[in-house]
């Protein structure tokens, strides 16, 4: 029985992230539009877009290889699994033994790898530009992410996300730590870069020459594009959930908690997502996109903070 409940809760989590991801994108767009004094599209618009794309015909370039066709599904699968591994409303889920922070970084890394390959597959110049820019950013973002993971794991004594959350959340909890503050800033910077948000990339741009993520996927259409859009939405949700569960873990249900705690967990989770989305929208509205070559400096800050956080923990476990 416990096993069945465990699987059910795990299944609920997987469906929850899938169902919520486009909504989060819609929310961010809506708030941004409101900040620009436009009514903006309804929050459900991304769901409609996905449905529309699913129904549309796929247009393939003549020289597209199997890689180009397989990549959307690979990217979607990797992003979905990664998003489902992050504790959203409860820790200690059935698959939490696999929910290693390094595994999540690796899943996202492989999704990016395939997307970059697919970007170059058709041989258009935009795909190449997008892939090269994406890899340039990734070469800074991934180490920064890993160093942040190390800082967190040193505090919690584990790289397993579920355990990390339980240790940070307490009781007894770890209190305020300098290294955790640095990890938070570093993770936020990485999250913005990884999701191609302003100031690194502009998801709403119409200028093909400035695109990063959009340039890579410029050749995709129909259900392939739907998969990629959904994967991008899942990735955004993943990062918001990750930051939420690590740094604002209140409300997350624990293993064996009664259903009421689970419901409370879902409620607080939705609230955290909405707040995260709103914060992102406000941040994006108040800043211009930076020059492509300034992004490594920006990600360098994340790398440095991650490194400092890790080093501080070697100096003293109490920092």
């Amino acid at each position: 029985m416990a096993l069945i409940t465990g699987f059910a809760i795990q299944g609920l989590q997987m469906l929850l992230v899938l169902a919520l991801a486009p909504g989060l994108v819609g929310l961010v767009r809506r708030i941004k539009a409101r900040l620009m004094r436009r009514p903006g599209p309804p929050i459900r618009q991304p769901y409609r877009d996905l449905l529309r794309l699913m129904r549309k015909e796929v247009v393939l370039a003549e020289n597209a290889s199997w890689l180009f066709r397989a990549t959307p599904y690979l990217v979607f699968a990797a992003s979905w699994v990664a998003a489902a591994l992050v504790p959203t409303f409860a820790t200690g889920l059935q698959f939490s033994w696999t929910a290693d922070l390094i595994a999540i970084v690796a899943l996202l890394g492989s999704a990016r790898f395939f997307l970059a390959l697919a970007g170059m597959d058709v041989g258009t110049s935009f795909g190449g530009i997008g892939s090269s820019r994406e890899m340039m950013f990734a070469s800074m973002a991934e180490p920064a992410m890993l160093l942040t993971v190390f800082a967190l794991s040193l505090v919690a004594g584990s790289t397993q996300l579920s355990t990390v959350v339980q240790v940070l959340h307490g009781p007894p909890g770890v209190g305020l730590r300098v290294s955790l503050g640095m990890a938070l800033v570093s993770l936020v910077i990485v999250a913005i870069a990884e999701n191609g948000r302003i100031p690194v990339d502009n998801p709403a741009t119409h200028l093909e020459l400035t695109m990063v993520h959009e340039a890579m996927v410029l050749e995709y259409s129909g259900r392939h594009l739907a998969m990629i859009e959904l994967a991008a939405a899942l990735k955004l949700l993943l990062y918001v959930s990750l930051i939420a569960c690590l740094f604002v873990p209140w409300g997350i249900a624990r293993e064996g908690d009664p259903p009421v705690a689970l419901a409370l967990g879902i409620g607080t989770y939705l609230l955290k997502l909405a707040l995260g989305g709103a914060a992102l929208a406000v941040f994006e509205a108040s800043i211009a996109k930076m020059r492509v070559f300034r992004v490594p400096d920006y990600l360098g800050v994340a790398l440095m903070l991650g490194l400092l956080g890790t080093l501080l923990l070697f100096v003293s476990r109490a920092l």
């Binding site: 620009m36 100031p199 200028l207 093909e208 020459l209 492509v292 070559f293």
Partner: protein, 502 residues
């Protein structure tokens, strides 16, 4: 040498009040003029052809005098482009449309003709050709260079144009433009058309400058007839032109910031632009004020409460614009993108006689309203802002200053709008007379030239967009910048495709 400079002796008042005399020149004088252009002692205002030959409008920067030279020919003319780079594209266009070959020209590739016009001398009897011959882009050689072709169809909804980048990594080594996708054959359509239809066509050459184009065309017609326009009509034209300038500059300021993904400026400038357009709609009955200016005056007078409506608009813009300028100036992330990007050297701007904000941001303080004054601007007080840093930031600031000047101008026009009729009939006849019109549109000086035909028709006409001398400079301004900054540079130039492609 001196004699060719003496040919450039028409003052602004001469050009605007009377038909422009045709000065047919021979080979020696034509070449002398081309060489003078090459030495930067005169500026090229336009180079175009008609059935009788090739025409060249020149201006002496020192004295502000104008001259119109005609080289009579039916087959070829000595190249001006070999001495003066700015003349190369006009020469290529002349060859595409009229079949007159520029002898000794360094660049013989077609320009507006993509191999589909099938037109040669005499022009106007076109049968479209459907195959498209290859176009030789200029080569760029070196280690690890790659080409990025962009357009003519873009991801955004903009006009068509092809850009061929040769880049080393992200750095642009060479940009070559390929235009002509918006060629409509305005020249052929003007030929033999009644003046009313010609005015309509002129107003549709570049939609965002419809007022300025219609005004330039009307000026040319009025000059050819030697007529004077009622005072009130002139002031109303000024009002329309300033409203058009306001709308376009406000739109541009926001759009440039939007290209740096700073959507806040775009949204708020968009609101202001919309207010200007709505005010124009309320006052003149058309958002863009299309077909409001016609030879002889304006199509309709200000609505009874028009002055009050425009005054409200001024107050509204004044109240909000300052905050937007402060937002721009206090956003380091935005300034980081615009300062130092796409720098155009004053030397090049002067050599190409670039008009508008492109020239004025790079030290060329020419404004047709001041340099070649015409009514009502000869009786209004305003400044011509000028900077010499020549980057995207400078072009934004020139626009900001011009918005302020336009606000002041509109106020002055409203304060001292004379009473009287707004239209006077064109006199009959005038067949064979030529007229020149020069109006400062929001992009820069628009030149219109027409020759009156029999029975109130247009024998020939030509409209020169300021973009002719701005497009080539964009190629120079982007060099050494990164590909991702091109949209920003391009938007800060905001050249017209339609006006250039004619």
């Amino acid at each position: 040498m001196a004699d060719i400079l003496e040919c450039i002796d028409l003052s602004s008042a001469d050009v605007r009040s009377a038909p422009i005399p045709e000065r047919a020149v021979g080979l020696m004088e034509w070449v002398a003029a081309a060489e003078a252009l090459g030495r930067d002692t005169v500026e090229l205002m336009g180079l175009w052809a008609s059935r009788r030959g090739v025409h060249m409008a020149l201006r002496r920067p020192g004295t502000g005098r104008l001259g119109l030279l005609t080289y009579p020919t039916d087959s070829s003319f000595p190249s001006v482009g070999r001495h003066h780079a700015a003349a190369q594209r006009p020469e290529r266009a002349i060859r595409d449309i009229y079949g007159f070959v520029a002898e000794g020209a360094p660049d013989l590739r077609p320009w507006l003709d993509h191999g589909r016009l099938g037109v040669h001398h005499p022009p106007g009897t076109a049968t479209p050709v459907m195959e498209m011959p290859a176009y030789d882009f200029l080569p760029a050689e070196g280690e690890s260079l790659h080409q990025v072709p962009v357009g003519p169809i873009h991801a955004g909804i903009i006009e068509p144009g092809h850009f061929r980048f040769t880049a080393q990594g992200e750095t642009v080594v060479r940009l070559e433009e390929r235009l002509g996708y918006a060629h409509k054959g305005i020249g052929s359509l003007l030929r033999g058309a009644p003046i009313a239809r010609g005015t309509m066509l002129a107003g549709r050459t570049s939609g965002d400058s419809t007022v300025a184009y219609a005004w330039a065309f009307s000026q040319a017609v009025e000059a050819a007839h030697g007529m004077t326009v009622p005072d009130r009509a002139l002031w109303l034209r000024g009002l329309m032109a300033e409203l058009e300038r306001l709308a376009n500059h406000l739109g541009d300021i926001g759009a440039i910031c939007n290209d740096a993904a700073f959507a806040m400026m775009h949204a708020h400038c968009g609101v202001l632009r919309e207010r200007v357009l709505r005010a124009a709609d309320a006052v003149f009955g058309h958002r863009l004020m299309q077909d409001m200016i016609r030879p002889g005056g304006v199509a309709r007078d200000l609505r009874a409460d028009g002055a009050a409506l425009v005054s409200d608009l001024l107050g509204d813009i004044r109240a909000r614009f300052g905050a937007l300028v402060r937002l721009y100036d206090n956003s380091p992330s935005l300034l980081d993108r615009t300062v130092g990007t796409g720098r155009l050297s004053p030397d090049l701007a002067a050599r190409f006689a670039a008009g508008g904000f492109v020239g004025r941001a790079s030290g060329r303080a020419f404004d047709a309203r001041r340099g070649l004054p015409y009514g009502p601007y000869d009786r209004l007080a305003f400044d011509v802002p000028c900077r010499s840093d020549g980057d995207v930031n400078a072009r934004i600031w020139i626009r900001i200053e011009e918005v302020r000047q336009s606000l002041a101008l509109v106020e002055q026009i409203l304060d001292s709008l004379p009473a009287g009729p707004v239209f006077a009939d064109l006199p009959e006849g005038g067949s064979g007379a030529m007229g020149l019109g020069l109006v400062e549109g929001f992009r820069g000086d628009i030149l219109a030239w027409i020759e009156i035909g029999p029975e109130g028709t247009i024998a020939e006409g030509y409209l020169r967009d300021p973009s002719w001398f701005q497009w080539p400079l964009l190629e120079a301004a982007i060099e050494g910048n990164i590909i991702a900054d091109f949209p920003l540079c391009n938007k800060s130039f905001n050249c017209s495709y339609s006006g250039h492609d004619l």
